[in-house]
């Protein structure tokens, strides 16, 4: 800069190109602009896709594929998700058991070290499957009989052995056959010897993986083998069972079907109830705000009282009050209760907006230009209220879905056998430890739905907010 030597030309007036002030951005309507902003919010956009996917899963999938949420597949109870559904045909004759030589088993003198000993060589006799698990072990000196336990987790101590299956009848009997509601899962069998004085030995534990099996008589009577009559040939062969990609519940109902139909219930309640109470809220709040004065005061006082009612308590109360007759799904009572208790918050919101809008200069201007009431309401009030209402509608949906889930979970929701995600969770709780998928699958769908609507609501609020502020 120091070395800059100007020439005379530098000091001639600058000829500026006449630039018309071009409008860079096309003019967009309120909703177009909001939509542009929403599209830029990737989280909100993905949430929208997710919601569409969930709706498709619940409402379109059952139309394309035939799904039956009520049919019970008794051969497959509480099956985990998976693709291979085979079963081995087995004979289901009772087992005579294994007996030790009398010399060892009938030792009468109580052994002092008994409490620090355990039965040896606990093992399976045959393949473990869902029809029977056959165990045997070596006799323990001093044992009067043996107790057998079954657990679905690794036993953490002698007080945590799980389900007591039974005890052997004679000291010499060193075997046990478990045929009690076996499922295709891992079991931990524990055997404890008990001496004459009733003192327990330490326990021995064996991990057993049971695979799926069907009793041959069962298979024939259910027609799983077709016309085959040759019993010896089909024994120990594998047959293909009905497919349940997402497994089955404890009544053998297909999880995929129940999830889809349960989604219909949950999403129906979650979408329709908010929609109805938002409409009611707009009308009620808009009326109160528009009329103003005494009417407004009385209307809002009533709304305040309804808001003060403890929500979930009264949801339960309404459910009890309305009752559910046999054969009813219980969807309608829940819908009514939700609407009856939820409209006032929207009414309050709309009223506040309308009151605010009434003071706005553009409303005054419209009035001065002779706009009538219905024009004012439809052209000016509603479009301006809709933004806020849409955002609260988006947030009302997940809370309605949560409410449905909560009520169904405590048994106050839809009536069985109508599936809903909440009711499925309630069913799944009972077998959570052994078959977590029965709780987790519907829980994941609830969570995804709620998450998606929450994120969409956030995005929508941001999109509409920045437009309202007119910033940047």
């Amino acid at each position: 800069m120091k070395h800059f030597i100007p020439t005379p030309n530098d000091f001639l007036p600058l000829v500026k190109a006449e630039e018309a002030e071009a409008i860079v951005r096309p003019s967009l309507s309120y909703w177009q602009d909001a939509w542009q902003r929403l599209k830029q919010n990737r989280r909100a956009l993905w949430s929208l896709y997710l919601i569409v996917a969930l709706l498709g899963f619940s409402f379109v999938l059952p139309v394309i594929v035939s799904l039956d949420p009520i049919k019970q597949d008794l051969t497959q109870l509480s099956q985990s998700p998976g693709l291979s559904r085979t079963s081995v045909i087995v004979e289901t004759l009772p087992w005579s058991g294994r007996y030790a030589e009398a010399a060892i088993s009938t030792a009468n003198t109580p052994n002092t070290e008994f409490t620090s000993m355990t039965v040896a060589d606990l093992r399976l006799v045959a393949n473990a499957h869902t029809e029977s698990v056959r165990l045997t072990w070596e006799p323990l000196a001093g044992a009067a009989y043996y107790r057998i336990y079954r657990h679905i987790l690794v036993p953490s101590g002698s007080t945590d052995l799980g389900l007591p299956l039974g005890a052997t009848e004679r000291p010499a009997q060193v075997s046990y056959e478990d045929r009690l509601k076996l499922k295709t899962t891992d079991y931990y069998y524990s055997v404890v010897a008990v001496n004459k004085a009733g003192v327990d030995s330490l326990f021995a534990t064996l991990k057993v993986s049971a695979h799926h099996a069907t009793g041959i008589n069962d298979a024939i009577s259910r027609g799983l083998l077709g016309d085959v009559i040759d019993r010896d040939n089909v024994l120990n062969t594998e047959i293909q069972l009905q497919q349940h990609i997402l497994g089955t519940d404890q009544l053998g109902r297909d999880m995929l079907s129940r999830l889809a139909y349960g989604g219909q219930t949950s999403l129906f309640i979650g979408l329709v109830a908010p929609f109805i109470f938002v409409v009611i809220g707009i009308i009620y709040g808009g009326l109160a705000g528009y009329l103003g004065g005494r009417v407004d005061e009385v209307m809002m006082r009533f709304a305040d009282f309804v808001i003060a009612l403890p929500f979930l308590l009264f949801m339960i109360l309404f459910r009890v009050a309305m009752g559910i007759g046999s054969g009813e799904s219980g969807i309608l009572p829940m819908l009514i209760a939700l609407v009856a208790l939820s409209w006032p918050s929207i009414a309050r919101l709309v009223r506040g907006q309308v009151l605010q809008l009434r003071e706005q200069p553009f409303i005054e201007a419209a009035q001065l230009m002779g706009a009538n009431s219905s024009y004012l309401i439809w052209r000016h009030m509603l479009p301006n209220v809709m933004g806020v209402v849409l955002v609260s509608l988006t947030f009302a949906i997940p809370s309605a879905i949560f409410t449905e889930a909560f009520l169904s979970f405590i048994g106050m929701g839809v009536a069985p056998p109508t599936p809903s995600w909440g009711a499925m969770c309630n069913d799944g709780v009972k077998s959570f430890l052994s078959h977590p998928h029965e709780l987790l699958l519907p829980a994941v769908l609830i969570s995804l739905t709620v998450l998606a609507f929450n994120l969409l609501g956030d995005g929508l609020r941001d999109a509409l907010d920045s437009r309202m502020k007119g910033s940047r």
């Binding site: 690794v154 003060a308 403890p310 308590l313 009050a321 969570s447």
Partner: protein, 314 residues
């Protein structure tokens, strides 16, 4: 301030009356019959029972008796446990729920404030992202799932340790309360974290924070004396709804963790259609929540000078 409290008190009383009436109306439009479950009942016994529960009188008179009893704090006698008064049931079980609730509220509030403040301080850096991720999870997953997962977690922990560090279910010691209270407070904590975060961010950019810095106030003092105090105000205003959420959330947590609280009892009463217990508990819970909201309002009045002084000086 006094006037403010009196006004709130009056509206609280009216609200409780409204709740009681709504409960009464709700339960008397029931198509079912409260005594229907006792099937093989002779007309005589039935008559006696109706007399005992006052069901033989006209509805309006029943309503009058109901209100006057309620004014005296008498909720009647249980339908299913014929010798227990609802008052005794509430007294016995509510203390359990209240203990759990207070602990949960404590965890939620402290957690919400601390996490919220942290996310604001570390805005757009990894602690913010991590905490907000958990917040999003916590508001999206139903509480019963957390309850079940919490229980499973405790179970696995005990198994791994080889002894029972924390009981899986039940009630009695502080250890019993810990996980249920955490699960119960989780949703509220997430909500408060979000609120605290935005409140903190708003305060951070406030002019008076700049003033404090221009005065040479050291950062820690600014954080505690100027920022935190102002940011907490909105958190105080939502404590009322938070208490309501924790109270009703208690139903599920008490159910899952087998805690003998009023929430679990209420759910059982609902399942058994024990009308007096349902009505009594609903009104009790309603009154309790109204009083809590009132208490929070008054508390807020004390915390925010704009309300405290503003109302007293007219």
């Amino acid at each position: 301030m006094m006037q403010f409290i009196l006004k709130r008190l009056l509206s609280g009383v009216i609200t409780i009356w409204f709740i009681a009436t709504a409960t009464f109306v709700g339960m008397h439009v029931v198509p079912g019959d409260p005594l229907a479950d006792a099937k093989a009942m002779s007309p005589e016994i039935r008559k006696n029972l109706e007399a005992r529960y006052g069901l033989d009188k006209p509805v309006l008179q029943q309503y009058g008796i109901y209100l006057s009893n309620m004014l005296q704090g008498d909720f009647g006698i249980s339908y299913t446990q014929k010798n227990r008064r609802v008052n005794d049931i509430i007294r016995e079980h509510f203390s359990v729920s209240a203990t759990l609730g207070v602990l949960a509220l404590f965890i939620a509030t402290i957690g919400g404030i601390v996490w919220g403040a942290l996310t604001a301080v570390y805005k757009d850096r990894w602690p913010d992202a991590v905490i907000m991720f958990f917040v999003v999870i916590s508001v999206s997953v139903p509480s019963f799932v957390f309850a079940m997962l919490g229980q499973l977690g405790v179970l696995r922990l005990n198994q791994w340790l080889g002894f029972s560090l924390i009981p899986v279910a039940g009630w009695g010691t502080f250890k019993h309360m810990l996980i249920p209270a955490l699960v119960l407070g989780l949703g509220t904590m997430a909500y408060l974290t979000r609120l605290m975060r935005s409140s903190m961010l708003e305060v951070t950019n406030a002019d008076y924070i700049r003033t404090a810095r221009a005065k040479g106030v050291p950062p820690l003092r600014i954080f505690f004396k100027h920022q935190l105090r102002n940011a907490i105000l909105p958190v105080v205003t939502v404590l009322g709804p938070a208490i309501a959420a924790i109270t009703t959330g208690g139903f599920v947590v008490e159910l899952v963790f087998a805690i003998p609280g009023l929430g679990r009892y209420f759910v059982q009463a609902v399942q058994q259609l024990d009308y007096t217990v349902i009505m009594g508990t609903t009104v009790f819970y309603g009154a309790f929540l109204v009083l809590m909201v009132l208490a929070v309002d008054i508390l807020y009045g004390f915390v925010d000078p704009r309300i405290r002084v503003g109302k007293s000086s007219g």
